[in-house]
Symmetry: C2
Subunit: 158 residues, 2 copies
């Protein structure tokens, strides 16, 4: 198969290396802010924030996993820890008791409300505020395209 691999052009290589730097650095920076100020990882925040925006402040675990691009296994572990901290509860879905829902508690809601401003400020500082409007649009388009490619490659076992 690998006859003559298509290497990256200089321009492509630069773009990939820049993206790689971003991937190595940005999550750490956002984690650090949330950990310092609220003892939450970025992933924790996405879980709580996802619930806070859902009707009834609750979602089925697999729905939530899809929303935040997580494996069920990882989500299950994190939800267990957040439950131990009293930020959410797990309970069977009333409509179909075979499913489990995560439900945000009052404490969980309060924490999201308290954490959101600092988190959004960090996202602005690190990402948005350094970019022009066109760049923000380009970032959205590029990121969607890439995520789509990754999903497609994962899907077609068949």
């Amino acid at each position: 198969m690998p006859e003559e691999p298509r290497w990256l052009t200089e321009c492509e290589r630069e773009a990939w290396l820049a993206l790689a730097s971003l991937i190595f650095k940005l999550p750490g920076a956002l984690d650090a802010q949330l950990l310092r100020d609220h003892n939450l990882t970025l992933f924790d925040y996405f879980v709580l924030s996802g619930l806070s925006m859902a009707p009834g402040r609750s979602l089925r675990l697999s729905t939530l996993a899809g929303q935040i691009n997580s494996s069920l296994s990882r989500l299950s572990n994190v939800v267990k820890r957040l439950e131990q901290r009293g930020l959410l509860r797990r309970e069977p879905d009333p409509e179909n008791p075979r499913y489990n829902r995560a439900v945000l508690t009052e404490a969980g809601w309060d924490l999201v409300v308290a954490a959101a401003p600092g988190h959004v400020a960090a996202v602005r500082r690190f990402v948005i505020d350094g970019l022009t409007e066109e760049q923000v649009t380009a970032l959205r388009e590029v990121s969607c395209r890439v995520t789509q490619q990754v999903d497609e490659a994962a899907q077609p076992p068949q």
Copy 2:
């Protein structure tokens, strides 16, 4: 301080959420390919590849850490494992014996050579080939800008 936080506009929010998806998914996809085919993580690959391109196929640990945006602690752990696998050696810098260099072994070089085509193909498939030339350029500019913002925020303890 948090009087009225500047929330994200719809457009900015979409861009950020798309980038967040990418950040959650792309590293896993690239890791998976390298792990499956060569038992390397993306981080391992960057270490070996960084060495392979350096003069003498060797670098000081702190230089390498800077190049691949890693903490020294993480790099030290990974280098220890790669050394145990015989892919590199640690030895004192001949020019200044107080520093340590990582030196790629023959086996390490062979592994990089073997792994590179598949890795580049994955980068193409997931990232580059789905984008127009303009988007590749935009990706580079945006990523550089974001990394720069993160670095600046980390620096100015002073």
